[in-house]
Subunit: 215 residues, 2 copies
Amino acid sequence: MSSFSPPVQRLVTELGKLPGIGGRTAQRLAFHLLRADKEEALALAEAIREVKERIGLCEICFNLADGPRCRICADERRDPAAVCVVEEPSDIIPIERTHEFHGRYHVLGGALSPIDGVDPEDLRIAELLTRVDGTHQPALDANEGQAEGIREVVLATNPTTTGEATALHIAEQLRARAPEVTVTRLASGLPVGADLEYADELTLGRAFAGRRRLS
Amino acid sequence: MSSFSPPVQRLVTELGKLPGIGGRTAQRLAFHLLRADKEEALALAEAIREVKERIGLCEICFNLADGPRCRICADERRDPAAVCVVEEPSDIIPIERTHEFHGRYHVLGGALSPIDGVDPEDLRIAELLTRVDGTHQPALDANEGQAEGIREVVLATNPTTTGEATALHIAEQLRARAPEVTVTRLASGLPVGADLEYADELTLGRAFAGRRRLS
């Protein structure tokens, strides 16, 4: 018999569904919320409700957005001619933090993984191709009356098996359909501050293959 | 500039207020909730709201309760003559899991810690003494017309400096006020499965001091 009353048990169960939150942690978080000020706990409940009710996907890039467009696509200082393709909306944050990229994004919604049943049709690859073609969705054309004029597509899927496969697949599609567009891939190599002695062979191999001429 | 829209930022901030949830984890949880089914996310929001609206404190023992009494105090099979004193409601769960204690609880709401400004008046010590005196709060007397008839108080505060100080303080108060009541303290010693070689000296010292005669 659980010594929790049903509402407490429900809260523990719901918290336990979050990724990386096991049973013990869920209990600890539940007891924190029970002890916390009512306002503080309800602010969290409200924040969850708000994102589920107000946050949708950007009509251009499928990033998270609280209106028809995300903050990046709505920002006129961003260069619409460069598009960085990522797997998930959360991948945009670390890229933005670098301040190296000033274009727009395209969120695929995952990576190709035949084993898990993720095929090209399950990702937003067709939408990327139409963006590049300049035959963007009617809603946008009606609003803007113009295409984005994409000249570079940076493939920033993860440097994993599935991410690499996705990048290769998209690169092939783009080569066939829009040969004038430059397609690039993020460099793979040793992370800054790494120690060669402890580098794994795959990463070190990539670092060799991608070595740059200094003089 | 944050590339989050305000509702997402609010959710990350609120999640980050939970204990043990840092900025990165808060972001990861927020993105999980954004990706999750609307029903699943709202179930969490609703569970939080429900506990804050429905859960109060048991009128007898100050455990969490979804009515006037907690499930333990409301259970007639529990022995009202034995009371186990704990710091927090969350301490009740591991004790219940042992199936060793069949009495009721008393939740102090913390432990004495003059450094943090926690004095005896800040804990529910006076309430414990009145329970033991049998002069329980009028609401209960009116309902039941009887006291609990407490014969044993088990002090189950944590084996920490503050927990020990709290246990000693309560033991003194009880000795002065209800000398006929047996006051016990949970045994301290080596945890089951421990290795003597790695035991810390305080625990080992306690294990010696509390050694039991076998034959």
